[in-house]
Every structure is written in C-alpha cells, then in structure tokens.
Symmetry: C2
Subunit: 132 residues, 2 copies
Amino acid sequence: MKKTKKWDKARLLCEALSEEEDLLVNEVATRVADKWSLWTLATLAESGEPLRFSKVMATVEGISQKSLTKTLRQLERDGLVTRRVYAEVPPRVEYALTELGVELLEHVEPLWSWVAKSVGDFARARKEYDAR
Amino acid sequence: MKKTKKWDKARLLCEALSEEEDLLVNEVATRVADKWSLWTLATLAESGEPLRFSKVMATVEGISQKSLTKTLRQLERDGLVTRRVYAEVPPRVEYALTELGVELLEHVEPLWSWVAKSVGDFARARKEYDAR
DNA sequence: CAGTATCCAGATCGATACTG
DNA sequence: CAGTATCGATCTGGATACTG
C-alpha cells in the first residue's frame, strides 16, 4: 500500500498545534459532523439573509427547541454565525452566517459530496460485513 | 450575503438520498469527526502496511482497549479497514486501510487542514464571545 | 417569540477483570 | 495477544412546562 502524502500534510499541521488548539480543532470537527449544526448552517446559507429563530426551527425538521438553541449558541461561540437581538415586542432574534461560516461550508462540501456519492460503496461494505 | 453555490450542490446530492442512505451518510460523517476513528485511520495510513492491534493501540495514545476495538469494528463495518486474523498462538490480528479508507482520508485532509489553519480565527471568536 | 428550567431514558466511555 | 464482559460515572437529547 502506498502512503498518503496528502494526509501527512494534515498530520504536520496538527502536530504544530498546542494542546488547547488541538481541542479546539476537535470541537470544530464535531460541528462539522453534527447533523443539526450542519443543517442549521446550510439553512442559513441557502436563505442568503438573516433568519429568525422560529424560521430556522421550521426549516430544520425534527430539531427540538432545546437542541436548536444549543446548536446556535455553539455556532455563535465558534464564530460561524451571528446573533442579533432586536428590542421589540414580541422579541425578534436573527441569525446569519459569518464569513468564517461560509468558508467552513465551502470546505465541508467536497467531503460531504464524496461521502454522498460513495454511499453505495458504504452500503455494500455494510451488507457484506453484516452477512457474516 | 451571497449564496454559496457549492453548498447547493451538496444539498442536491443529499436530497437524492433515501432515508436509509441519509442515515448512513451521517454515520460516516460521524467517523470523520471522531477523534479516535480518524487517528486510527491516519495511523494505518502512515504505516503503509498492516498493523497489529497492539501496535495501533500503542500509536493512538490515550485510547482504551474497549474504544479501539469498537472503533476498528466500525471502520471495518464501513469498509474502511480490513481485519485479518492469523491462526497462531498467540493470536495475531492485522488491520489495514482499504482503498475506500485511503480515499476517505484524502477527502478529509483539505477540510482538516483548513480547520487547523483557521484555528486562530476560531480561538479569537471564542475569546470574544466568552468575554461578554 | 425566543428562549430557560427540569426531568428522565438511553447512549457512551474509562477502568477493571476475565478468557480462547 | 486480542479481545469480551461488566460496572459506574458522565453526557446527550427529547418532552414538557414555564417566562421576559
């Protein structure tokens, strides 16, 4: 088997990180893999303009209020979305993607597409494994 | 804010998936974000040849035997690694990357590199958020 | 409207002990 | 050597009820 040079590059980058940074990288990676986080980001990206909490909740089917709140807080904390509160009655809160959020989506897309495209391979592997 | 065309492409791919496939895609994405899974795959990639259980365990610092077993089983089930058992005493079991596993690493690398490179941005965002 | 607070069931993970 | 089995602490996420 050949070594994957591309991976070595990432390894070098990772080894240059402090322990604290490594933790942070891992947490961001968690966002990337989290269904709700990604779906929320994608919802904001597709909209192209700020969305209210209730609008996001309606778009991201199946998410609970609690989970959406948590997800949005995490994304905000990581600098991926902005949260703007308007002093109105009833209250209005709008969420929007940041530049960093857009960048993240753009970097996630190729991987996600590959996984989606390869779903047949994965399904086949599973079927084979489970058959034994 | 501009719409992210690239993301739309992934969205279209996702919407073409069956519910079952969607689940599978999500599970693979979980592997991608899992620290142990990725580290295990990277270990096998760097080695360039099959590795014994104990060797992997020694390389992936901090992983418990239980977690490594689970991780390897998942990776095997998803067709990312192979598991070969030699009928010897004491037993020898060797793990190796599959082609699919190599491909996955190659597709993960750009994203991972970007996250690592952007760790400063994320740290700054956090610091700002936490300051409030 | 956009949350917060509380409860609770299920998944997860490390540590430990045991085995083919 | 390469696991499996088990226990307890921890984390997660949904459902529900309440509030500025």
